[in-house]
Subunit: 195 residues, 2 copies
Amino acid sequence: MSQPPSVEKPPGRVFRFSGGASGRYRVLGSRAVCGDGLETVPWLALTEGPSTPDAACRWSLQGIVSNERYVTRLERERLVSLQAGLGRASARHGALIPIRKNPAWWALTQEERRAIFEDRSQHIAVGLRALPQVARRLHHCRDLAEPQGFDFLTWFDFDPRDAGIFDEMLGALRRTEEWSYVDREVEIRVERVEG
Amino acid sequence: MSQPPSVEKPPGRVFRFSGGASGRYRVLGSRAVCGDGLETVPWLALTEGPSTPDAACRWSLQGIVSNERYVTRLERERLVSLQAGLGRASARHGALIPIRKNPAWWALTQEERRAIFEDRSQHIAVGLRALPQVARRLHHCRDLAEPQGFDFLTWFDFDPRDAGIFDEMLGALRRTEEWSYVDREVEIRVERVEG
C-alpha cells in the first residue's frame, strides 16, 4: 500500500502568448476594451518556459507567475478550496486578457492599492463567484526587463456553456473603482483545437 | 521670470551590475553572508538601461526599479523627506547587496510579509536611522524572465566616514525575524574611481 510516486509537474513560471498564423488556440474574437489594441490574428500559441518570440508571430507577450500581492490568508483558503485547474477536458473556450494600470495606480502604496482592490472593488469576491467554472492563471509582466506594454496577462478557460458566468465576471470587474486605473485592456477570446 | 526647462532625468528602470576586469567601482571586498557567494572580482560595472551581459564579465545581475511593496503613506513621507540621492560627490564608498528569500517567505500572504517586515522586524525604521547618510536604490529581480539567483539587489552609497552607520544598519537588519527568511546574501563593498 505504498504511495505512488508523485508525477505532478512543478508549476510553470514563465509563459509566452504569441498571436499569429499558428497555435493550439483558434481566435474567436479580439477587441481593445480600452487603450491601444493588439492586431487581430487567427491563432494564439502558448509556450511554457524561457523562450524568444517566434519571428513569424505578429505579437508576443511574456509573463511570470509570481507571489500573490493582495489576498489575505482567509481569502486564499477560499480560493484554493473552490478553484479548478486549467486544461479540463470540458474547458474548450478561453480568453487572454492583457491589462495595464496607469501611473497613478503604481504610485499608490500597497495598503492604498489593497483598499481599492478588495475593500472597495471586491475583486476577489467577484472572482470567487465565477468558481469553479472559470479557471485562471495570472502572469506579471510589469517587472520584466523588456517592456511588454502591459502589467498583467490573465489566462482563463471554461466550458463554453459557462461563458455567461465569465462575461458577468468581466462586466462586474470593469465597473469597479479599481478599473478606473486600467488604461489599456485587450480581450482575446479563443477556442482550444484538439489533436 | 519663466521657469527654466526641467533637465531632471527620468528615473531609470533597468540596471545591470557586472563583476569583472572593468567598471567604475573598485571592489574593496566581497563575501557570502549566507548561501552561495559570487566570485570575487576586482571591478564592478553598473549599466543603466536594457543590456545583455558583457562576455568579459565573471557574473552579471540585472534588476528593475518597481513600485513599493510594503511602506505605508506615512512611512513613505518620512523616507522621502529624509533620504538623499545616489551619486553625491562625498559618497565615494558603496555596496551591492544581492539577497534571496526562501520559498517559505514567498508562500506568505502580503499581510503576513508586511507584519514580519515592519511590525516585527522594523525594516523601515532601521533604514530610517541611516538617513540621510546612506543613499540606496532597490532593484527587483525575482520576476525577470531569466532567473538571476537573487530576488533583490540593493545598491548603496555613502561617505567613507559614515561606513559605521551603514554597518550598524546591516547588522541590525541581519538580526531580525525577516532575515531568517534570507537564504542567500552577498555583500560587495566598493569604492568609486573618479575620472
